[in-house]
């Protein structure tokens, strides 16, 4: 392992000690922590929302109008965390590409996408994507035509964003569950196309 191993190991030990002390004093319980960890490890499935919007035009309209309410039709909720959040769906078109960041910290639609990837939380992404989005997107392998307008959305504690990617060409015959398999996390953040 790298030099970081010892460092990580000592932090891991400190985290265990703090957890043990809080459990001993009854401030948190081991069962409660395990339940939260289990939920975090369960893959989030926001792709279902996008696939449904691709095949159901009426749902798509509801999603773009009020995403917070629309996702509840599919069993998701923005009210499951420590406090309610609002969700806004951003529609990619041939003319507009949306990409999401949280410049201040790491606000992210965990209910739909699970815990965020490390790059989303990095200073490099947070600082640069608002200044030079095309350069950042090209580092993800996404080269957009000059004619495509790029819109960068800065998430907050109260408002989270979900990108509705363009449906890939040649998928007209695919069933909804097969469409969902094409949809990537980065596609729903806006750092990839499908």
């Amino acid at each position: 392992m790298s030099e970081g191993h010892h460092h990580d190991g000592s932090i891991a030990q400190q985290v265990r000690e703090v957890e043990a002390e809080l459990e001993a004093s009854g401030i948190v319980s081991a069962a409660e922590l395990e339940a939260i960890l289990d939920a975090m490890r369960t893959p989030a499935d926001g792709a279902r929302v996008v696939a449904h919007a691709w095949v159901d035009a009426a749902f798509r309209e509801r999603l773009l109008g009020d995403a917070t309410a629309a996702i509840e039709e599919l069993g998701y909720s923005m009210h499951g965390g420590v406090r309610p959040q609002m969700l806004v769906a951003l529609e990619n078109t041939e003319a507009v590409h949306n990409v999401v960041v949280c410049t201040l910290c790491s606000c992210y639609p965990i209910a739909l996408l699970g815990p965020s990837p490390p790059w989303y939380k990095s200073e490099a992404y947070r600082s640069r994507v608002v200044r030079e989005p095309r350069a950042v997107l090209s580092e993800f392998g996404l080269e957009l035509a000059e004619t495509v307008e790029v819109r960068v959305w800065d998430a907050s504690a109260e408002t989270r964003y979900l990108v509705l990617p363009l449906r890939p060409r040649g998928t007209d015959e695919l069933a909804e569950e097969h469409l969902a398999a094409l949809i990537t996390r980065n596609g729903m953040i806006g750092t990839a196309s499908l």
Partner: protein, 93 residues
């Protein structure tokens, strides 16, 4: 301006984007995330206080620590301020 307000700043270098990009590099990171969720749900501290505690870290400390190290330090800081922790773990202020 606080150190976390990095939007538009220069000098943070290139992105590091790997193929898999799992949310947690190590198990302790997931444990810190779960611990913060539990403490906020129980009302031990509020999410706003938690964010504020991260954002008022000395700028050099903020920039030298990883994302979940910041979370852990802010957690222990808030717990100590409330007299709920004696364990020898890193904290700020």
């Amino acid at each position: 301006m606080r150190v976390n307000d990095v939007g538009g700043m220069e000098g943070f270098g290139a992105l590091s984007v790997s193929e898999s990009d799992p949310p947690f590099h190590a198990d302790w990171e997931a444990h810190v995330h779960a611990l913060v969720s539990a403490l906020v749900r129980r009302g031990v501290f509020a999410l706003d206080e938690f964010r504020d505690t991260i954002e008022r870290m000395p700028p050099t400390d903020y920039l030298e620590t990883s994302y979940y190290e910041r979370w852990f330090r802010a957690t222990t800081t808030l717990l100590r301020e409330r007299g709920l922790l004696s364990a020898d773990a890193p904290a700020d202020g």
